[in-house]
Amino acid sequence: MARKSRKAGRRHPLATVVLIAIGLVVTGGGYALLSSTTTATADTSATSQETIEEGQKLFAANCATCHGMSLEGTADGPSLIGVGAAAVNFQVGTGRMPMAMQGPQAMQKPPQFTDEQTAALAAYVASISPGPAIPDPSLLQGDGDATNGGELFRINCAMCHNVHGAGGALTEGKFAPELTGVAATHIYEAMLTGPQNMPVFNDDNLTPEDKRDIITYLKYLENNPSPGGVELGSLGPVAEGLFAWIFGLGAVIGLMVWLTAKSN
């Protein structure tokens, strides 16, 4: 037939395609609007069961070899019962765990897990048995009293970490790392949980406000140049002595030789 008859039904041949397209848009848009998965806000206080299950899977794949399938510990790694989300966030977030090899100290290295995976692991460990929690962000802003923080740092921390936070040696291959460039949350968690051979500074010893002040002091040190000039690693008399004896005394001797030499 040359022309379709328009009288019966008056439907365009493309009407079916358009109708199907409209149907798809309506159902898809309706699903997107009414679906319950929201990613706009991250809820830090209450973790969902999904997070804990993801954490359990990550733990079984990466950590259970040394720490046991139910965190009971093995000959290669201690039990994680009661360490809390703070310890997991610190160890995994700074890359110390998973440990690359047994030794006197777990070394800091690039973190192996993303922030979400770290949070999942922390939620899982905390769900098995409660322990120190990840600190409240209001304590990590660096807006405390740096003077009080400095005094507390010198009394509690400077003997291992150096008066400027440049780090120091302990016995038999262990060391206290330098504190510049460390995230405030990791500093707080390290104080709270006492990783490896660092002692525990619980909230009765250093209150949360004290910890906030110490973090403020460390951030002050990090952000302000030393008024005395080049810090030479803030190692004190050893570095400064090396510099003075080699360059200073060298220059003096050189000048002395030039002074007493005959003009050529």
Binding site: L170, N224, S226, G228, K262
Partner: protein, 356 residues
């Protein structure tokens, strides 16, 4: 050099070019002929600024350039003082101010010094000269005149003749420094025996263990396994000699698993449920021992690396210390606070002569 076996003197081989008239009379050395020929002075060596006029011009230019640089440095230092002022709340401004002023002043002074030395070495007259050293002994007339003067003074003052005046003056001169002895004797600590001071600290029965620096008392329940508390005795912050007392009374409080502790007989009551307190003052030279390794239970002193084993009552396991850290006996009072049972049972810190 030739030696004279009889007198042991060496023949002098210097100043052969000058005629020394009084040499034989004054030095009283026996001069003997020898086969050693005096080589004389080395030949005068020309400097490059003497031989090469371009080098001389260059040296002259260097000298006045250095002096001009010195002027520039002085002006730069003044400008830096104004351009990089020290701000009240900017710690970095101190660094810049000091650095640039220092560079300017260093350039100013070095410029003068280097320029002057270079001028003297390279441009100034440099021929060698000889200064004859005259004999030390004076002439006979001078000596006899001096003797005359002394005699005259003695006669005119009557010092030798008037023995009463002379002796009483000598007595007065001996007596006048004696008050100084008494004055300076007051510098020594008189009322306190230093051995007693070193043997006792502020700790006594019932003194509460408090946090350093706040002075807040510590409850036994606050101390968890692996904790380290830095402790001062209650009342230390109000003591008039706070720092001297703190230097003896500082204590480190730790909690270990009670099963890990090896407690010797007689010290069973000194700890409480794994909570132990030890003096923080190293028994080697007195640094504060506070580097506690939580897992190995070793306590390290940062100064000379004496290592103490907390599990075995702080026995020394490494390093120059010879005695273990004294333990402070502690108990819990009725409110749950940690208190000392008594002072330390031995003097804290390094050895001293009267230490038994």
């Amino acid at each position: 050099m030739a030696h004279d076996e009889v007198s042991g003197a060496e023949s002098s081989a210097s100043d052969s070019s000058a005629v020394e008239t009084s040499r034989t009379a004054s030095t009283s050395t026996a001069v003997i002929a020898s086969d050693v020929v005096n080589p004389g002075e080395p030949a005068h060596r020309q400097r490059v600024t003497d031989t090469d006029p371009k080098a001389a011009k260059r040296a002259q230019r260097s000298v006045y350039t250095l002096f001009y640089l010195s002027i520039a440095g002085s002006i730069f230092a003044v400008a830096a003082y104004m351009a990089f002022p020290i701000e009240n709340d900017d710690v970095g401004s101190v660094r810049l101010n000091t650095l640039f002023m220092g560079i300017g002043i260093a350039l100013a002074l070095f410029g003068i010094g280097l320029g002057a030395v270079h001028w003297a070495k390279a441009i100034m007259y440099d021929k060698e000269g000889i200064d004859i050293r005259h004999p030390v002994r004076g002439s006979d007339e001078t000596i006899s005149r001096a003797v005359e003067i002394f005699d005259e003074a003695d006669r005119e003052s009557g010092f030798g003749r008037r023995t009463l005046i002379r002796n009483s003056l000598i007595g007065a001169l001996i007596a006048f420094p004696l008050p100084g002895l008494v004055l300076f004797r007051g510098w020594a600590p008189q009322s306190e025996d230093p051995a007693m001071l070193l043997s006792h600290t502020m700790w006594k029965k019932g003194a509460r263990l408090t946090l350093d620096p706040s002075g807040i008392p510590v409850k036994a329940s606050d101390v968890t396994i692996g904790s380290v508390f830095h402790i001062i005795p209650e009342g230390l912050n109000d003591a008039p000699d706070r720092l001297e007392q703190k230097a003896k009374a500082a204590v480190l409080l730790m909690r270990l698993n009670p099963d890990d502790l090896n407690i010797s007989p007689g010290r069973e009551s000194w700890s409480y449920d794994g909570i132990v307190a030890y003096s923080k003052i190293c028994t080697h030279v007195g640094c504060p021992v506070a580097l506690y390794e939580q897992q190995t239970h070793h306590l390290l002193c940062p100064c000379h690396q004496s290592t103490f084993d907390v599990v075995n009552e702080c026995q020394v396991i490494f390093g120059p210390a010879k005695r273990p850290l004294p333990q402070l006996p502690i108990e819990v009072d009725s409110e749950g606070y940690l208190v000392a049972q008594s002072d330390f049972n031995e003097p804290v810190g390094p050895s001293f002569w009267e230490r038994s």
